[in-house]
């Protein structure tokens, strides 16, 4: 009799083991450990740095509300036919809920000074467990050598 009761229990447990979490599965601890902030130069040579921040040519998640909800899978840039720079960043929503984010890009010149006005915030809609690509182009060609993308949550 006991054996009869045990069989459905074993079967049920086996069924549970087959349920898998849908991809993407984000390991936030590993993602956060990849984040390496760099020190900005001090006010004068030899002075300690007052600020640490994300390095140029990367995506900085500026909103603590989504820093553990999204993962930037890829960020890159290419020159367009007119010489302007197009930045692309693929963002993954690691949660089971839809998320609206927005991003903007600041392009920097060779001296790492802002080369043009920062772009307007552009909306990136991220349904649950999906990715979307943010794209932004520079206005100029000579004054865009580096970039920094800022990402935050929006409604």
């Amino acid at each position: 009799m006991n054996k009869v009761r045990l069989v459905p229990l074993v079967l049920a447990l086996a069924g549970c083991a087959q349920v898998q979490e849908p991809a993407p599965v984000c390991n936030m601890a590993a993602i956060n450990s990849q984040r390496q902030l760099i020190a900005l130069p001090g006010l004068a040579p030899g002075d300690p740095s007052p600020v640490i921040e994300m390095p140029l040519n990367s995506v900085s998640i500026v909103d603590p509300k989504i820093i553990n909800k999204v993962y930037v899978r890829q960020v890159g840039a290419r020159r367009t036919a007119t010489g302007t720079v197009e930045v692309t960043a693929q963002v993954i929503n690691c949660t089971d809920f839809p998320l609206n984010a927005e991003a903007r890009t600041q392009f920097y010149d060779q001296m790492q000074a802002p080369g043009e006005p920062v772009s307007a915030w552009k909306r990136v809609s991220l349904p649950a467990r999906t990715s979307n690509t943010y794209r932004e182009s520079s206005m100029g060609s000579r004054n865009a050598a580096y970039y920094m993308v800022e990402l935050r949550e929006t409604r």
Partner: protein
């Protein structure tokens, strides 16, 4: 005794009505035009105008026929052929003026901008110069006003839905921008900006 107390209290409260309410009012605040403001509805708002024009400017500057031609083309950007067929109430010039200004500042000689909306002003000045009423100015005379190579056209359309039970309103807005070759009619560049909003707030756009 009780009656006189009530009378005193009433007198004091009436006296209170006649004094200056010496307190600050609700202050007017500046908002970031590129972000959601405190008053938000389902129509086209400042953050949409800022976002769409910035996107179109950057996109046009990546189009070789506009921004990398051997001879910089003459472009006309105004609201003359930019139609609002949507249910949103908006001054179209808000969009096209911002587009022209932003593009002109960013283009840095890659395009020439023709102010066709100033054609009447230019014509009348040319007339009085040539009639000798005004002197010739310092710039050399031109045979004619500049002709346009490309002109902006476009359309704003929308799709509305409303739930009478909840009062929830939803609006999908689509804005199309196109640059048209003024000799051949060819559309040499197209940009699209769209968004969908829903809400219950009763916001009136003026």
């Amino acid at each position: 005794m009780r009656r006189s107390l009530i009378f005193v209290a009433a007198a004091l409260s009436l006296a209170g009505c006649n004094t200056v309410q010496n307190a600050a009012g609700t202050p007017t605040t500046y908002n970031d035009p590129g972000a959601l403001g405190p008053v938000k509805g389902v129509g086209i708002e400042s953050q949409d105008v800022v976002g769409m024009t910035d996107q179109m400017i950057r996109d046009m500057l990546a189009e070789p026929r506009l921004a990398n031609a051997q001879l910089a083309p003459n472009v006309i950007i105004d609201a003359e052929y930019f139609a609002n067929e949507s249910t949103s109430r908006i001054n179209k010039n808000t969009i096209t003026d911002r587009l022209r200004v932003g593009l002109n500042r960013a283009a840095q000689g890659r395009m020439n901008f023709v102010g066709r909306h100033y054609a009447g002003m230019v014509t009348s000045e040319r007339k009085i110069k040539r009639a000798g009423i005004a002197d010739k100015g310092s710039l050399p005379e031109a045979l004619a006003q500049k002709g346009g190579d490309y002109r902006l056209g476009g359309r704003i359309t929308s799709l509305d839905s409303w739930d009478p039970k909840s009062g929830m309103m939803s609006r999908f807005t689509q804005i199309v921008f196109e640059m048209v070759d003024l000799e051949t009619g060819e559309i040499v560049w197209t940009g699209l900006y769209d968004f969908s909003k829903s809400g219950q707030d009763a916001v009136i756009y003026r």
